[in-house]
């Protein structure tokens, strides 16, 4: 009867100081969860009422005093689409070079370092570089195409890293088998390596889209402008004009005009896009694990 309780022997008894620490940890975790729910909830509650069919499908009309974000949706799609067209082959190619071709250790180190450096440069500096290089030096002016090129460099490290990880996961036996059967290197890459790392590449694409959709500082400088008019003219004509994406438009409504209702409407659209992209990443990862 006088035996000490089991918990004292196994050291499971908790000291008051430990209770405090446990309490603090659980409290912080709970606070974070509540914070996210509050922030997202607040945006949606204030923003969703603004979202109507005309809001999404028309341009702003100062005479009728209606607002619409269709032009900036189109600008966002243009920038994302064309940046991906350049960036995906470039990023995948770079990753293939690093993992399949490069033999010179110094070169590999330089490419890795460059890619890490690009990933660490903040978007406002991409904005300055893009302006000085693409808009002024290459004479592209402040335009969507300058935005496309700037964002291409910005998301290049994301594409390279995810593709590299996917290539690393392809078993060595695949490569040895193909080369042993007499396949050339390009044939091996084309028919085996790229198809088997397709899901990794897809993850890179989704992450890149997320980064581009939320980008504002760089685009404000290089693609700037506003999105007042419905899109017109050929694709090239539109690309060579300035135009703002959804994030930049949000900034304009909130800061230059103090129209918070519209800003929250755009914010809700962006939150929905970000949440969908997150779900998509998970879905791709889940399919990857199942395979």
């Amino acid at each position: 009867m006088n035996n000490p309780p089991l918990s004292r022997i196994t050291g499971k008894r908790r000291r008051p100081s430990e209770f405090l620490l446990y309490g603090l940890i659980y409290l912080l975790a709970a606070c974070l969860a509540v914070l996210v729910l509050l922030l997202v909830g607040y945006i949606l509650v204030r923003g969703l009422p603004a979202i109507t069919v005309p809001f999404l499908t028309t341009a702003e009309n100062p005479i009728l005093e209606t607002v619409g974000i269709f032009p900036s949706i189109v600008n966002t799609l243009y920038i994302v689409f064309f940046a991906l067209i350049i960036c995906v082959p470039l990023g995948v190619g770079g990753a293939v070079y690093l993992s399949e071709y490069a033999k010179n250790k110094k070169l590999v180190g330089a490419i890795q370092f460059a890619s890490e450096t690009l990933a660490g440069i903040p978007s406002i500096l991409y904005g300055i570089f893009g302006y000085v290089f693409f808009c002024v030096l290459l004479n592209l002016h402040v335009s969507l195409i300058a935005g496309v090129l700037t964002l291409t460099i910005m998301v290049l490290p994301i594409m390279m890293r995810t593709t590299q990880e996917a290539l690393r996961a392809v078993p060595k036996a695949y490569r040895e088998g193909a080369l042993g059967l007499g396949a050339t290197k390009w044939y091996l890459i084309r028919t085996i390596l790229i198809p088997s790392s397709l899901k990794g590449i897809l993850t890179g694409v989704i992450l890149s889209v997320g980064r581009m959709v939320s980008e504002s500082a760089a685009l404000l400088l290089v693609a700037g402008g506003s999105a007042m008019y419905m899109p017109r003219g050929s694709v090239w004509e539109q690309l060579s004009h300035s135009g703002s994406t959804l994030s930049v438009e949000l900034y304009r409504y909130a800061m230059s005009r103090g129209d918070n209702g519209t800003a929250f409407g755009i914010a809700s659209v962006l939150i929905v896009i970000v949440a969908l992209l997150n779900l998509l990443t998970r879905f791709v990862a889940w399919r990857l694990n199942k395979k």
Binding site: K12, R14, R15, L21, I25, L28, A29, L32, V36, V40, I43, G91, G93, G94, V96, Y101, A110, I111, A114, S115, E116, G120, I121, P122, S123, I124, L125, G127, I128, F129, V132, F133, I153, L156, M160, E176, L179, G180, G182, T184, K185, W186, I189, V213, S214, E215, S216, A217, L220, S247, V248, L250, Y251, A254, N260, A267, L270, I271, V274, L277
Partner: protein, 301 residues
């Protein structure tokens, strides 16, 4: 393996397609190197002009920023940026590590997965939305403090710090969590077997073993904080005066988008100069990060 193929096919007999593809992949690989070289060259070239004109010391240590009379001293902005970043990291680091401990060690798997969805969402929210929320929720919260101190209401350094804390938390949490998870199980088992409690084990064994990963997370968070432009610009009030916690401040990053539209000539060049100063800060952080990762990698082996 490669030797065998080269013996069979012969190096000189490599078909044209192969050689062309080799070259194309090389160019793709070099794209990032070329980008970094070009960025460095053009940042230095565009930002160097104003610094050469006003002198390094007068630009970096000047206290007065008045584009109208061509006075470009950015010391208040440098101090504001450093102060905001330092405070944000000091707050976010302990909070982030404790939440990472919760996710990696204390919470049941399903709860941790749910929390991670939240953290991913937090990481994905565009910075303009943080700016909007900050301007409407955080800035008014500080009004009472400002009133008590007898200062006018408005954006402040404190608001910028709070918004940065929220923005860098996801980075610190996810990097620290990964670091905590990769600590070998034997370390913890040994500590537990020797009679330490769960928390003693975490704080005396797991966290010290994951130190290099946690430091990497901190440096990454620092880089994010010092480079953030839009969100801090929307909450910090933007007065280029010496920083005080409850007064409006202007950060280096914020100065660029604010004045961009109406700047030209020397004024625009001064903004390029601010860009160059930021670029140098970021490069230092990048190199620091690389050293830490290298050291951490060597430690694991």
């Amino acid at each position: 393996m490669t030797k065998k193929t080269s013996v069979l096919s012969g190096k000189s007999a490599k078909p044209l397609v192969e050689r062309a593809m080799n070259l194309i992949f090389l160019i793709c690989g070099l794209a990032s190197v070329i980008s970094v070289v070009f960025m460095t060259v053009y940042m230095v070239a565009s930002g160097g002009a104003i610094i050469a004109e006003t002198g390094v010391l007068r630009f970096l240590l000047g206290r007065i920023w008045n584009p109208g009379s061509s006075e470009f001293g950015i010391l208040p902005m440098i101090l504001a940026s450093l102060l905001a970043t330092l405070c944000a990291v000091l707050v976010a680091l302990p909070v982030g590590v404790l939440i990472a401990v919760f996710l990696a060690k204390l919470s049941p798997g399903k709860l941790a997965a749910g929390m991670r969805t939240f953290i991913d969402l937090l990481a994905g929210i565009p910075s303009v939305i943080y700016g909007l929320l900050g301007a409407l929720l955080i800035v008014p919260m500080i009004f009472r403090l400002q009133k008590a101190a007898g200062l006018p209401n408005g954006g402040s350094l404190l608001a910028a710090i709070l918004i940065l804390v929220i923005m860098i938390l996801p980075t610190i949490i996810s990097v620290s969590e990964t670091a905590l998870r990769t600590v070998p199980k034997q370390y913890e088992e040994a500590a537990l077997a020797l009679g330490s409690t769960r928390l003693q084990c975490i704080f005396k064994v797991t966290i010290p073993a994951a130190k290099s990963g946690i430091v990497a997370g901190m440096v990454l968070g620092t880089g994010r904080a010092i480079g953030e432009a839009m969100a801090v610009m929307m909450v910090s009030g933007n007065a280029a005066i010496m920083p005080e916690l409850l007064r409006p401040v202007r950060l280096l990053t914020a100065a660029i988008p604010i004045e961009w539209a109406y700047s030209s000539g020397l004024h625009r060049q001064a903004l390029y100069g601010i860009g160059l100063v930021l670029f140098v800060f970021i490069m230092i952080i990048n190199i620091l990060l690389r050293q830490i990762m290298k050291k951490g990698g060597a430690h694991d082996e």
